[in-house]
Every structure is written in C-alpha cells, then in structure tokens.
Subunit: 410 residues, 2 copies
C-alpha cells in the first residue's frame, strides 16, 4: 500500500503542542464549515459517487474535450489532479482566468477539433453563480459553443442552480460546508477526474485513511505539520515554500498556495493581521532561481520538499560529454533528481532555514488522496493554533465590490 | 510607438535617492559582469544578429520542432518570450528539469511527430557545460534523438564548447560578462525566438530605448523602481509580488522571480544576509488564491501589477444569467479584467501594502524588449543600493558539490 512519509527537520520540532487544536478540530468534523471532512464518508461519499457515475456513464463515451470554467478552488484542484494522474482520453481545458486571448484561443482550439460540439462537455463551477469571472466566461462560452453539453456544479441553491435548471442542464451539487479550497474531493474535482478515467474511489480511500491519521492524538502528521509551521511563524519564518521534485506534483504546490494563503492570512482573534506567505517552487529547476536567496538571504523561510520515491528509470548511459562529467555515467535521471533534493535539503538546514519533507512512494490516486487530506487537515488545525477562521475570505468579498465600482465608472 | 508607463504608488515614494547608484551603474556599462548592457549596441548586437540569422536561414525552413535543453536563465527567458509573442510555426519544447517522466514524454511526443528527426532542432544551452542537469539531459537526448540537428549555445570556451566542436555542431556564443539571468537578449534567447519568427531586432530596439531611459539622472524608471523596492525592504516590505493581468506575461513573472531572487538574495558588504522574496502571481486568477492574505495578512508586501491596455475584444453579450449579473451585459472580458486590476490595486493600497503598476500599451516585441531592459537595469541599480554583487550565485555553486556527494553515496 502506498503511504506518505513525513519528515520534519529538528529545527522545526516546535514546542507548540497541537493536541488541544487537534481535539477541537476533531469536534468540528461534519459540522458547519467542516462538513468537507465527511466527503470521504457515507452517506455523502456514496451520494456523490452515484451521481457522478451516472453522469460519467452517459457523457464519457462521446466526450473528447472537457472545458472547465472555474476559478480559485474550483480549478486549482482539478488542474493538480490531472497533472498528477493524467487522462485516459478526453482532453481537459481549464479556463480559470478572463484573459480574452486565452479564452478565444481555447474556444478556437476546441471548435477546430469538434465543430459540431457533439464531443464537448462544458463544466461550469461556481457555488453561488455570483462570481463575475465565471458568469462572464459562461456568457462568452454559451454564445460561442451553445451546442455543447453543459454541466453545472453548484450549491444546493443560488443563481447558477436556477440558471442550470432553466436551461435543463445536468447538475452536480457542492454541499454546504464545503468551501472552494476544500472542494477538490467533492463533485467539483471528482467529476472532471472521473471523466478522464482517474480512480476517484482510490482518491477518496486515500483521503479517508489519511484523515483518520490526522485525528490521532499521537503521531498525527497534520498536527506535526501545522504545529511546526505555526511554530516557525512565531520564530519569524513565515515564508512557506512547497517544492516538489516531480513535475507531476507541481500544480499541487499551487493548490497548496491557495489553501494555505486564503485560509490562514487573516485578522486573528486579537485583531492582528497575520498569515504565512506560501510560495510554490519546483525542483530541481528552481535551484537555479530561488536557491541562492534561500541559502544566503534572510532566514525567514521554511522549505518544504515533496519527493517521489518511484520514478521512471531513464538511464544516462555510459558516455559523458567530458571527463569532468564522468560521475554521471551509469546514473539515472531519477537518481540525480533524488540526489539534488537531498543536497538541497541539507543545504537549507546548513543555511538555517527550516525544512520538512513529504515522501510519496509513488504517484497514484491513493497517494494523491492522502496528500490532499493531509494538507486540508493541517489547515483545520493551524487555523485553531493561529486563532483565525480558516473558512472565510472577507478580503476577497470586498474586492468584488471594488470591481463593480471600477467597471461602472468606465 | 509602444512604450511602457510606470506608476508607483505614493506609499512607495521612498526617500532613497538612487542617483549615485545610477551613476555607478552607468560607469559599469560594458565592463566585466555588466557587458550584458552592450547586447543591444554595436558591435555585439550586429555580431549576434549576423550569426543567428545565418543559422536560422539554414535551419528554419525544415524545422518543425525545437527542443531546448536549458535551466534557470537559459530557459526562463525563452519560455517568457514565447508565451508572450508566440511562434509562426515551429513547436517549442523546453526541458528545464530532469524529471524522467517529463523528459521521456517530451522525447516520445517529438519522435512520434518526426520519426526521422529531419525536422527537429535540439538546442543545448550551458555557459560552461558543467551544469549537471544539462549534461544529463544531453546524454539522454543524444541517445534517443542522435539524428536530430544539434546547436550548442555556450561560452567562448569550456566543456560544452569543446564537445560541440568535436561533434561538429553549430554553435552560438554567450559572451563573457553575460550571466544566465541577463542572457535572454543574447543568443540564448534570441536564437530560439528567431527560429519561431519573433522579431528579435524589435526586441533589441525596445531594450536599447529603455536602457537609455534607465541611465538618466531624472525620470529614470529603473531608478524609481529599484529605489522604491529597496526602500520598501527597509520598511519591512520584502515580499515583492509581480502580478500580470495578462496570461501572455505570466512567464515573465517567473523570469523576474529568478532575476530578483538570485541577484539580490545575498550576504551584503556588512556581512548581513539580505534579499527580497519575489513571488509570481497571475491576475485575475490569483485574486482567488493570494488576495485574502495580502488584504488581511501582514503588511510586508509590495504588489506589482503588469497591465496591458490593448487586448482582444471579446464581448460578453447582452444576456446575463440572472438579474444580479446584469451589470456585466455590454461589457467585454478585457474591460472586466482591467476593472479587476484597478480594484485590486486600490484594495492593496487601502490595505497598507505598497504597489507599483507597469502598463504596456500592447504586447509586441518592442514592449517586451523594454520590459526586459527595465528589470535588468533595475537589478543593476538595486544591487548597488543594497551593497550586494548582483552577478554571482555562490549559494548555488555550493549545492552542486552537495549533489555530487549525495549521488556518490548511493
């Protein structure tokens, strides 16, 4: 069985005790904004799987293109899942911005491939239907691609639900208590995943097993992560890098950025503005971009590594380009990549940055489910340690009004 | 003529006077590590254009795939140029990591398209030929795709130069005094750009005109940027975000991250570890990821916006999905995107984060050349204001030895 191993370097063995935060988080499971922790339990899991399977059975055989309209938590999880786990056929397009050039190019690409749109499924995701980016994208896409099959993934009630009902579109439900950044294992992420042949039951099984570990009093990986990272913040290490040494995990670093930033960047219960600044990086590439700063710049960082043990064997062969490069002969790309991760970890510890390392045996749906649940549970605990509500985003709501003001002035 | 407009919000009107740093930077032009400022002047410009044109004339007619092997500054600039300016035909593949899955998939994709490799040009870039990632990639690619046409872009002497000579490959030269992160307008970036039909003379012309502005005592955009950003650091705002509201500029934010982090993250002349932490974001998308943190979290950030005035007109149409969304009718995607940028800028200023905004009239080679020269000149000045050498990377060199140690132990 694939499991996740978590190592936290001693500099991060914080004195913070997460046990009461863990207990409080455990008490919240299934209530209010923490209904997301029921996504991998019955009856919610069974209801979601049944409705998704029914729709996938109907739509997948003809589907060659899936166009997803979603932003923030409605897109980041899906992008991460598909980069990690791939597709068995349909091409996935995600429009998560309103850049007109990207939107037009994407529509043109799909129309060229499927002029009648008989093989195209548009999935629009918005809990409320009041997110301007998504309603705008929908207006444009409906004009250009009205003959496609539309699916709406939305809340139990609201603007998009009503519109989908009027248009007689198939719908899937984002339950109450499942916020955008906690929604990847709800129909929001599971439907596009299932359309591409990803084993969504394994995703849920991985999440369920990890979430059980994340409720333990002892040896709780989410408790250790959150206590260490909150402890690091108190020591002035508030820049929290996630650096997978595996391209397929790169989009999970971006998923983490939203989860960590939007959940924990808040005014705390004492009225103080707090929050870590998460940064996404990719190894080994960003050793040639950010490493110099981490090594010689301020000691204000936690560098987190995501390493994958089993990778394809691509041998370097027996002929180096020069004597100085002979040491590479007989090695593989993955052995070099692993060596670089170890070397960077060591370099960071020597440079007085804190580190953590999560090692996945391999990338499969189970391990990815574990990874997701680990971080979502870590946020639930970290919010309590920091005295913030990890489930709201008042700062984003304010900006929506400013946008309406700005566009009205034009 | 397209020009760049730079606005810096009053909270960033730092009291730092950059004039002596500008003067010192002007004195450095063309010497030692600052020979990069001759890239857009004769005779260097003419020599580069002539050698690139000769090679492009020979290779472009048959070329359908360009595979670039490069990491850090050898790849980031090319990725940014091509995302911004596109290609008139050849498909560009960049391998800037040693992830075995990505490497194998990329090779397979090219081999499927061009089994005889008659239409494939492999461009390998390393100033020394001693960068393990690149020599490894070259070992793998030569085994798999030995029949392709190889071009090496490398220093005047060194391991890769010797190897290319032995293999009778065409070569282009990265001149001394042009470091990786300052090399996008050298043959490193210009050759792949020219192969894809990008107007490299316009790139250089834009850089030349901007660099002239960046040498002025008064109204010097690089001086204002660097003084403001260094001033912000002194006020505790050391997280420096670049957020283009334009997908085509997204990779320039990553190019900037390397330039800013690796140049300025250093031990300064007083022995203190300093350096800003640059962060790449994309608008409007990351309003749904990082904005909450910026709005309610610590006031330790400078949010920089890159806005493009002229974008494709994609009208939203006259039918909103509900009464509450009627305000979108008659608008365009670009008007909404511009409104969001303005709203976010205002929200950040209200939230006591500092801001700057660079507005490009449109995205063309001239404006992109201006943008590049602006930031490279800003680094030259900022290095002097901070008392660091922006042209070395001792922290990266150390990690290379650790990698060799780690792989030898296996």
């Amino acid at each position: 069985m694939t499991t996740i191993d978590l190592q936290i370097h001693s500099s991060l063995q914080s004195s913070i005790d997460p046990s009461s935060a863990i207990e409080d988080a455990n008490n919240g499971i299934g209530k209010d904004d923490e209904r997301w922790r029921m996504l991998w339990h019955e009856p919610m899991q069974g209801e979601h799987l049944a409705s998704i399977r029914l729709l996938v059975k109907k739509l997948k055989p003809q589907c060659e293109n899936i166009l997803l309209l979603g932003i923030g938590g409605s897109a980041l999880g899906t992008k991460a899942l598909h980069t990690a786990l791939g597709s068995d056929g349909p091409r996935l397009f995600v429009l998560d911005n309103i850049d007109p050039h990207t939107v037009q190019t994407t529509i043109d690409t799909i129309m060229l491939d499927d002029p009648t749109l008989e093989h195209t499924v548009v999935t629009v995701i918005s809990k409320s239907g009041e997110t301007a980016e998504i309603t705008s994208l929908l207006m444009v896409v409906e004009q250009a691609m009205g003959e496609a099959t539309f699916v709406a993934i939305t809340g139990p009630s609201g603007t998009l639900r009503e519109y989908a009902s009027k248009k007689k579109w198939a719908t899937l439900t984002v339950p109450d208590g499942v916020g955008g950044r906690f929604s990847v294992l709800s129909p929001v992420g599971l439907f596009p995943a299932a359309m591409c042949g990803i084993d969504i039951e394994e995703l849920l099984r991985g999440a369920r097993e990890m979430d059980a570990r994340c409720q333990q009093t002892e040896n709780n990986p989410a408790g250790r992560l959150s206590a260490s990272l909150v402890g690091a913040m108190q020591e002035g290490k508030a820049i929290h890098v996630m650096m997978p040494y595996c391209d397929r995990m790169e989009n999970f670093a971006r998923w983490y950025v939203q989860l960590w930033a939007e959940s924990l960047g808040k005014i705390n219960k004492n009225g103080v503005r707090i929050g870590p600044t998460p940064v996404a990086a990719i190894g080994a590439t960003d050793q040639h971009s950010m490493l110099q700063l981490w090594r010689e710049g301020p000691t204000d960082k936690v560098i987190g590594f995501v390493s994958v043990s089993e990778m394809d064997a691509v041998p370097l062969g027996k002929t180096a380009i020069s004597d100085s490069q002979e040491w590479l002969c007989g090695k593989t790309l993955s052995s070099l990549l692993h060596a670089q991760q170890k070397a960077t970890e060591k370099a960071m510890q020597e440079a007085a940055q804190a580190t953590w390392t999560i090692t996945l045996d391999q990338i499969d749906a189970f391990a990815v489910g574990e990874f997701i649940a680990l971080w979502q549970a870590a946020v639930a605990i970290a919010g309590r340690l920091l005295g913030v509500n990890p489930y709201n985003q008042p700062g984003v709501e304010l900006s929506k009004q400013l946008t309406r003001d700005a566009i009205s002035k034009k």
